[in-house]
Amino acid sequence: MRKYLIRRLLQIIPVIFIITFVVFVLVYMAGDPVALMLPEDASEADREALRAALGLNDPFIVQYFRFLLDLGQGNFGTSFRYNQDALPLVLERLPATFELAVASMVVAIMMSIPLGIYSARKRNSFVDLFITGGSVLGKAMPNFWLGIILILLFAVNIQFFPVSGRGSLLHLVLPAITLGTGVAAEMTRLIRSSMLEILGQDYMRTAKSKGVNNGRLIYKHAFRNSLIPVVTIMGLQVSQLVSGALITESVFAWPGLGQLLVQAVNGRDMAVVQASVFVIAILVIVINLLTDIVYRLLDPRINYS
């Protein structure tokens, strides 16, 4: 297990290296950030002066190695947009995004576990059909659309929830539902199919014939065994949550990492894009690692040596 962990942690280094290179190339190719910083009618001389001052005139390879050197010292560079160090800008956004992601996960779990189990037990019934159909719809609904509709219904027409912003628990409800619905849909379908598979297993029949009561049968014997694929998907959904947060945060004016990244990309703000992607990549890697560890806890038969 320890060896396995060390190996996994070492794998992070080349992954990060490749990611930063790809992001660097993409942002570099996206074009001249100075064009977006000055007004439309700035003269070529003004743009040239700013470009020179920011070191944007150097050849690609020089810029890239300068970036790597800085990165080696834990420095992502200065944000063009904010004129500040990029990493603190990214880190200060983490609590807001983390709050939203956790709340969405809670929404997703609270919706998907009962719905998934229920529809597996009542397989092919009308309710099952309804839930399965609903989950397809939930998966297909674009985040921004759902967000706008929720605002319209529950914040503007029925003025119960605040329209936007971050603050109280009430502020969290609509964005969490918006972001959590897609994940919930995915998980409901998965729990259903995983449960169905387990329910057909021999040991379930044995348990039943032994006279285990129904609730215990479903929740202790079947549900727990169906968790392994569900945990996998939960781990994978974290990266989904991040990409969903990009849109959800903009719709709800939620001051998180998603909004920062969207605007950094729009402004070709290399340092912030790099720092955001770096932080997100680390998060995803760590969560995938945790997922693998949780597997082992759920199923001692899995051995990583």
Binding site: D41, R47, L50, L260
Partner: protein, 516 residues
């Protein structure tokens, strides 16, 4: 299996604590959100956040709306867009290039330090010397700032500078506290900016809100609002939602698809103001281009019905123009404002004369999503030109891709853009018709325009300068290196409890906004 239960338990407890913790910690902020309903709190929602707390490195209306209220300048633009002294008590022009300014007594910064001539010198020198500051290009003509004594400062310009007072009133001329700034440095200054304006900084949560409170010792009239919040809500339907539910008092940049929703609601009002931004077609007059023929350019102008664009697409929120200098900006030519030429038959004749009786193909590059309804306007223009036999090869580009084409001058015959005037002076707008600036873009050159522009730039006789600018615009309207479309409006959603009058510069002086 026991481990699994424990794990789930721990995770759920942590989650619970986290969520409730977050809500407790910020419940105070939650109350502030209801501020829009509180008569002493002003809440403004903008379509984008500020990018900096350095007023000399912002160059955005969104930033200016905050800085204008946080910092003092030597001069300012009042509600009627007239220049008024701000920190200056009196001033005199000593000779063509030397101006002397006397500061008002008793002005203090928000940290209590007095505002002196040293601060003025420090601030202006910073913006006129540091090329990385976005406001730098506007301040290039300032040559020296000399401190005479505590309250007197002398500015020497590089040649006569008729626009000096306008430069001293514009964004970027904000007076920074020298001692504090030098002591803490830029990074710290941005975390706790200090000015000498009517409102002082409380906090800035990035992509969320800037909070300001009144400064008790402000040297001018006492600030009226107890609390001002400038929120950033990028999604327009959310911004309108906040407005309709009373969460904000004024929402800026209401896009056309939301006009009906705002107009249809009794508790809010759609207010349209003018801006200095003029939408226009940049024409390539470079030899070899189809549009190098003045007849073709005239035909294009005659084929476009500017009034129809304004009426049908913009629902009247624009004014057809034949110049880049709209009313309200110094140098504007009234003959070319609220004016357009439209004559389909004549356009066809001109094209035939130019040798294109069988039609011609012309490329039009236009942005989509950069200005209100820009893509739709470009499409309408394409169909109008189609009626006189010009096949428009329309290229609609997303904002940043569009800017790349524009800045690299890689556009073909026509490119549509909106240009604003940050100085409210024709010297700023008309520079486009000089040889240097036109190079590569329109490649326009007219000796008389060149001469008039250079003369006007050094001319301290305002009346004569005005005539010079008017004449340039007449020539340009005839020769058409730019074909003008309309002056763009700015749309605000305003709560019915609020008295608000939009300004040409789209900036807010918070104390000009009042409750009913």
């Amino acid at each position: 299996m026991k481990i699994c239960y424990k794990l789930l338990l721990v995770v759920s407890i942590v989650t619970f604590l986290f969520v409730t913790g977050c809500s407790n910690q910020s419940s105070g902020e939650g109350n502030q959100n209801q501020g829009g309903e509180d008569s002493s709190t002003l809440v403004i929602a903008q379509s984008a956040d500020l990018t900096t707390m350095d007023p000399q490195n912002s160059l955005s209306t969104n930033g200016e709306r905050v800085f204008r209220n946080m910092f003092s300048r030597l001069f300012y633009w009042d509600q009627n867009m007239e220049i008024q002294p701000d920190a200056v008590a009196e001033y005199e022009q000593i000779d063509d290039v030397t101006w002397k300014f006397t500061l008002k007594e008793g002005i203090t910064f928000h940290n209590g330090d007095p505002l002196t001539a040293e601060d003025v010198k420090f601030s202006l020198e910073r913006v006129m010397n540091d090329q990385t500051l976005k406001e730098f290009p506007y301040f290039k003509q300032l040559k020296e700032v000399n401190v005479l004594d505590d309250l007197n400062v002398e500015i020497i310009t590089d040649g006569p500078m008729p626009t000096l007072l306008k430069v001293l009133a514009k964004s970027g001329s904000d007076i920074l506290p020298k001692d504090y700034f030098e002591e803490v440095g830029l990074e710290e200054f941005q975390k706790n900016p200090i000015g000498s304006g009517p409102y002082k900084y409380v906090e800035w949560v990035h992509d969320d809100r800037v909070v300001l409170e009144p400064y008790k010792d402000y040297f001018g009239d006492a600030p009226k609002w107890e609390n001002v919040e400038v929120r950033s809500i990028t999604e327009s339907s959310t911004r309108v939602g906040e407005l309709l539910t009373g969460g904000v008092d004024i929402a800026t940049d209401i896009p056309p698809n939301e006009w009906e929703r705002v107009d249809g609601d009794e508790s809010v009002e759609l207010v349209t103001g003018d801006t200095t931004r003029v939408m226009l077609l940049v024409m390539r007059t470079t030899e070899g281009a189809v549009t190098s023929d003045p007849k073709v350019r005239k035909a294009i102008d005659l084929a476009i019905d500017q009034q129809a664009i304004v009426d049908s697409l913009l629902k009247g929120t624009g004014v057809p123009v034949r110049s880049r200098v709209p009313e309200g900006v110094f140098g504007s030519n009234p003959d070319l404002y609220d004016s357009y030429v439209y004559d389909v038959e004549k356009a066809k004749d001109l094209l035939a004369e130019a040798g294109y009786e069988d039609g011609v193909e012309i490329k039009l590059t236009a942005p989509k999503g950069r200005y209100p309804l820009d893509g739709e306007v470009a499409q309408l223009i394409a169909s109008m030109l189609g009626k006189v036999g010009i096949t428009v090869n329309l290229e609609l580009l997303e904002s940043s891709a569009f800017l790349d084409v524009y800045n690299s001058n890689s556009n073909k015959e026509m490119i549509m853009i909106g240009l604003a005037d940050g100085l409210f002076d024709a010297s700023y707008s008309l520079v486009h018709y000089t040889k240097d600036r036109a190079k590569g873009q329109t490649d326009y050159y007219n000796k008389e325009v060149e001469q008039l522009y250079n003369d006007a730039g050094r001319n301290l006789d305002e009346e004569e300068r005005l005539e010079q600018y008017k004449r340039i615009q007449e020539i340009v309207a005839e020769e058409r290196p730019h074909i003008f479309l309309y002056q763009q409006g700015m749309n605000y959603g305003v709560s019915e409890d609020i008295n608000f009058k939009p300004r040409l510069d789209a900036v807010f002086l918070f104390d000009d906004i009042t409750t009913k």
